[in-house]
């Protein structure tokens, strides 16, 4: 409520948004893992409790990470089903895409604008 109803000092945002960063050895590189503060996790869980179902409904089968339960399992089964039925078809394949640093290249303002106007 404090964040929503006023203009708190920057230090409060910093405190809420801070997190610990640990590194895992991903030989030869390093895999950074962020662990958010408890207040931030609590806040996010509150938002999800209110809006999570609508987010899952909107994502639907478009992006299975939007809150659908067992989304990974659904993706794997769905991919296997279509591969099984088309495996012997001429000139048919299943492509697995990989993007460069996708989570970090997303623009935050664009992201919020998109969510607002869906």
């Amino acid at each position: 409520m404090w964040l929503a109803n006023g203009f708190p000092p920057w230090s409060s945002y910093r405190a809420l948004k801070s997190g610990r960063l640990i590194t895992l050895d991903n030989n030869p590189s390093v895999r950074p893992i962020g662990i958010g503060e408890s207040w931030r996790c609590l806040f996010a869980k509150c938002v999800l409790a209110v809006a999570g179902k609508d987010a899952a409904d909107e994502c639907g089968i478009g992006n299975l990470s939007g809150g659908m339960s067992a989304g990974i399992k659904a993706a794997v089964y769905s991919a296997n089903e279509v591969v099984d039925s088309n495996y012997e078809t001429d000139d048919w394949g299943f492509i697995l895409m990989d993007a460069r640093n996708a989570f970090n290249e997303l623009n935050r303002y664009t992201m919020l604008w998109t969510v607002r106007h869906l």
């Binding site: 299975l64 279509v82 048919w92 895409m97």
Partner: protein, 162 residues
């Protein structure tokens, strides 16, 4: 989306507290602290994309990727088009997959999705392997008959049952 909290940015109603708070929690650059030796800490500021450690970021990323997914769905003829977070997969004929890849290269970067061809994998059957290689290896893609996908397996049905 109907009557959702995340749709209510800038609108004063019951979800006002959640909406403004969400705006601040997403936009503000959070410090990520790395503990060093002898009490020395290093700070990194997460200023772009989604921040690790926040449970809300995954649904938010899912929602933000929807315009790109819908555009690809309408412009390409795909037998199956699957996304789980930033992992995408599509099953179609080689010509349609070629078009899909080209469109993703054109429209993806503006949505923060820049494909890396040398990390992309095309799964196809043995009999289609040579034609697939002639078509997709020029991008630097790997062409294989089986592969891992989201912890599962994709490839020959007989091989999977084994």
């Amino acid at each position: 989306m109907n009557s959702t909290a995340i749709r209510c940015f800038g609108r004063l109603d019951t979800y006002d507290i959640v909406a403004v708070g969400l705006h601040s929690i997403v936009i503000a650059a959070g410090p990520l602290i790395i503990r060093g030796r002898a009490g020395i800490s290093f700070y990194l500021f997460s200023k772009t994309g989604i921040t690790q450690g926040c449970p809300f970021t995954m649904p938010l990323y899912g929602l933000a990727s929807l315009p790109l997914i819908r555009k690809l769905n309408t412009e390409c003829k795909l037998d199956r088009h699957l996304w789980y977070a930033d992992d995408s997969g599509a099953g179609a004929t080689f010509d349609d997959l070629d078009k899909y890849f080209d469109l993703l290269k054109v429209h993806g970067p503006s949505c923060g999705y820049t494909p890396q061809p040398h990390k992309c994998i095309l799964v196809t059957s043995d009999r289609n392997l040579s034609s697939a290689k002639s078509k997709f290896e020029r991008y630097g893609m790997k062409v294989v008959t089986e592969s891992q996908y989201l912890g599962g397996f994709i490839g020959s049905p007989t091989l999977r049952s084994d």
